[in-house]
């Protein structure tokens, strides 16, 4: 007779290694007094444009830097570097998301105690980044008006891994018949009570409120 297999209980998070690095990063960020914000979204929803604007607006008063993830090219890093802030590209090769270890490696040559804000632009993807903690203090999920209103319903996991949603390209809302109340209802259907910000990196609409919001979040963490 075949014997029953023996069970050895493990009970460990499969992404334990990533989570451990993320925790170490978060501790290091806290010690260094740097507020770390990550951006996730589908490709083309305006992460780089928004980030370029954020870096430019924050730079006069704050010390800022950015890491940007893509499968290939240094294009985004070159765009962001126009703001004058230190920027580093993380090219992931075939990988569709950033992992905590990549962030740690990318930061090795930087003294983050010299920073007030660090931004991490994830690879454009609404699925894979949701599983990986990067040690950030605030995760923003972007959705552009040109993508329509139902992205939250299609990708509830990413909306649940983020802290705040940002509607981007608001200057195009009328041109694409964007229905803002439906978009908000969809966000709140998968994430009741989620804070939603509205911006246009192109016209600057909503940018002051956005920058104030970042400042407040940073202050709240320091307390």
């Amino acid at each position: 007779m075949m014997q029953e297999p023996r069970l050895v209980e493990v009970r460990k998070n499969i992404l334990k290694q990533n989570d451990m690095i993320a925790r170490e990063l978060r501790d290091e960020f806290r010690r260094s007094k740097v507020f770390v914000v990550s951006l996730v979204s589908s490709p083309g929803s305006g992460k780089t444009s928004l980030l370029e604007k954020i870096l430019t607006l924050l730079r006069p008063k704050c010390r800022v830097a950015a890491l940007v993830g893509d499968l290939a090219t240094e294009n985004d890093a070159q765009r962001l570097a126009r703001s004058g802030a230190p920027v580093k590209q993380i090219t992931t090769g075939t990988l569709c998301h950033l992992e905590a270890g990549m962030v740690r490696n990318a930061l090795q040559s930087w003294d983050i105690t010299e920073l007030d804000f660090l931004f991490i632009e994830n690879v454009g993807n609404l699925v894979c980044p949701s599983s990986y903690d990067l040690g950030e203090n605030l995760r923003l999920v972007l959705s552009s008006v040109t993508e329509g209103e139902d992205k939250p319903l299609k990708y509830p996991t990413i909306f649940n891994s983020a802290d705040v949603a940002v509607l981007t390209k608001m200057d195009l809302a009328d041109a694409v018949d964007f229905d803002e109340s439906t978009a908000l209802a969809n966000i709140h259907a998968v994430r009741p009570g989620m804070q939603v910000l509205r911006v246009s990196a192109k016209t600057g609409v909503g940018m002051k409120e956005f920058i104030d919001f970042l400042g407040l979040r940073r202050q709240a963490l320091e307390k």
Partner: protein
């Protein structure tokens, strides 16, 4: 498709634990929440690739699907939900997730 990364992490983790036990690992039991962002089918095929040339080669992956359970602030009860984050009884918005994000290695099955 990040399931290959997940499968590789799983195999690394399980191989580490397998070192401490006597006998061959014939299966891994894992729990995958519906909000974990991981597709069960993709993970199963990636597992085969990730276990190649490791002590886990040929082992099975047994996946327990974990539904999303939220806390309803109106009914003050737990309830399992579908795609919308509201109570299945009273329809109140329910943002507090109690489970559904799991991505956990539960146990190794060892040949006796």
């Amino acid at each position: 498709m990040h399931e290959l990364s997940i499968a590789t992490s799983l195999v690394d983790l399980a191989c580490e634990d397998a070192k401490c036990v006597q006998g061959r690992v014939i299966a891994l039991q894992i729990r995958v929440g519906r909000l974990s962002g991981v597709s069960k089918d993709a993970l199963l095929s990636c597992y085969e690739v990730a276990t190649r040339d490791t002590p886990l080669e040929g082992s099975r992956l047994i996946i327990e699907d974990v539904p999303v359970v939220v806390y309803c602030p109106q009914c003050r009860k737990e309830c399992a939900i579908g795609s919308r984050f509201c109570c299945s009884v009273c329809n109140a918005p329910a943002p507090e997730i109690l489970c559904g994000k799991e991505l956990e290695l539960v146990a190794l099955e060892i040949e006796s």
